[in-house]
Symmetry: C2
Subunit: 337 residues, 2 copies
């Protein structure tokens, strides 16, 4: 069975979008449910998702394990897996890692652009790597099965996370900096280490991560994927569109500014273009994944490899990542001795 | 397979008590994790349980479904099922019902002695039954599989809960008022309605609920159970000891006073005896369930009936109660039309 999985979206969710997921044959999506929200605010966001699950049971349901992707395919629905783009949701309490995992969180970024309690974001001038709490939280995330996501982290912190994490990590939505040098894109050093450690990169379609921005061609995007496969191995890449469909510009401001400053911060944008950029013409919503698949085949990629990139790799990663660490109990006992 | 299940405990948990559960062959216990705590404070209590589960994986684990009782028996451990004695943990937010169910909450009292947002407690002068929010929350509890527990509620509220709940409810820890007239014990009217609706009563060993208090004899307790079986049917009763082992007296004060008054309230105690009462000599801890089982047999109760009372009835109730309502989706659709 080949599956179609998107490694990151943060849309202004609606029945329309859930139906487009079905029209596009999307079996599973990792959705961002929180950025700078506290734990309680994150729970409110989960409550909102619970209402959507109750309202649209024929279109979506909450995914908790990799088996839910097969269930989604079998029942003609899309499995929704929760993620956080910042560790604000665990506040300063390591116990919230397991609590949020129980509520279905499956990915958590250690930082969102800025320094966090755990690591350094990609917009800080200096990156000091994982903090004391950062190493503890990574170990706890490894124990319960919450994936470390370093999409918005700095280089040293990312290499630290790959090194300290006992389970493969993910960069759910970014591209190689060698293709398009943006603070959010990743060096070959990081990408090589990510692939060698069994981790996953999700290729982003967000224009600020694309060469030529909104004008990026499908061929350029797919050629970049083919080159990344050469660098990282075909088993360690997938799609992570970063689709922010139907969001008002106030949302991109919240993502960038949260409550950490009283001033405006334009992030990847600018004073003259502060809002969401226009999507490339070949990817507007969940019905367009087929174009990427065709584009990959057009680069000469084998069908099985294209299927791996379009979802099968994420499925394998989900299988390995979302459950408790297999030797968890023994490891704890060893550590306690 | 016969199982041993206690329908309520709130001990000062320790390795000693978990080992006594194993020595006593206790397969499952419904434990109180919160009284007057807010949602966030309740989550902190769950975090504390998570540490115990991590620390003592050979003795206990978190129970979520009835199947976990069989798992406990098979692996020689005790399954711990969470409950709340007050709805403080959902604050004024119905969405927290599903959130707490996701975190493993399986029982919630609508009141603890006082008026709550949902219903009236058994110590109020006037009982106005389920509130507007109370009816909504009962429907939501029915939908997700969170058991309505009316142990500390008033008569009218309890009858209301039996009437409005579409799934059987529980009174996890109380005795018949006809045997010992205490505000916390229940009238024959309530007990008959509870049995007829498929609900469950757990018999309490807490001295304030016993005829002759701490001096109550095992025979008197077991005769009372036999008479209750005649009243309610043998399928609708179990044990709910209300064991508060090793708790300091500051805890019974917290139970009674919470943060709702600045004065002392003695609840079932008195100014001259404000602390926890001494347990009857025949039940001191989890190793003493065998005495109750023997006492039931001594009343002339058939072995299968005694086994039903000692745990098999709770097991059947767990099977029927902890999952989502079977026709949930259709009911919602019908309601939406």
């Amino acid at each position: 069975m080949s599956v179609l999985i998107d490694g990151l979206q943060y849309a202004n969710w609606s029945e329309k979008i859930f139906r487009q997921m079905r029209d596009g044959g999307v079996d599973a999506v990792h959705v961002t449910i929180t950025y700078h929200e506290t734990f309680r605010e994150t729970v409110l966001n989960i409550e909102r998702w619970n209402r959507w699950f109750e309202q649209f049971p024929d279109l979506i349901f909450q995914g908790r394990t990799a088996a839910d992707v097969a269930l989604a395919r079998r029942t003609g629905r899309t499995a929704i897996f929760f993620g956080s783009q910042n560790p604000s949701c665990i506040e300063d309490d390591i116990g919230l890692v397991e609590i949020l995992h129980s509520l279905g969180l499956r990915f958590m970024q250690l930082t969102y652009n800025n320094q966090s309690l755990l690591a350094t974001g990609c917009y800080e001038a200096e990156d000091t790597g994982l903090t004391r709490m950062g190493r503890e939280v990574v170990a706890e995330m490894n124990r319960v099965g919450l994936v470390v996501d370093m999409s918005h982290s700095g280089e040293r912190s990312t290499l630290d996370a790959i090194r300290y994490s006992t389970r493969p990590i993910a960069i759910t939505h970014a591209n190689p900096a060698s293709w398009h040098p943006a603070l959010r894109n990743k060096s070959d050093t990081v990408l090589r280490a990510l692939g060698e450690s069994g981790g996953m990169l999700g290729f982003s379609v967000y224009p600020h991560h694309l060469k030529d921005g909104s004008g990026c061609s499908l061929q350029s995007f797919c050629d970049m994927i083919a080159r990344s496969v050469d660098l990282m191995g075909v088993g360690h890449v997938g799609i992570g569109t970063d689709l922010c469909q139907d969001q008002p510009d106030s949302i991109v401001e919240w993502m960038r500014v949260g409550r950490w400053t009283k001033r405006l911060d334009y992030g990847e944008g600018s004073a003259s273009a502060p809002g969401f950029p226009a999507m490339p013409e070949w990817f507007g919503d969940n019905r367009d994944f087929g174009r990427i698949a065709s584009g990959l085949r057009a680069t000469g990629m084998a069908e099985a490899d294209a299927a791996a990139v379009m979802g099968n790799n994420w499925l394998r990663f989900f299988e390995e990542s979302f459950g408790p660490a297999r030797s968890g109990v023994n490891e704890q006992k060893a550590a306690a001795q």
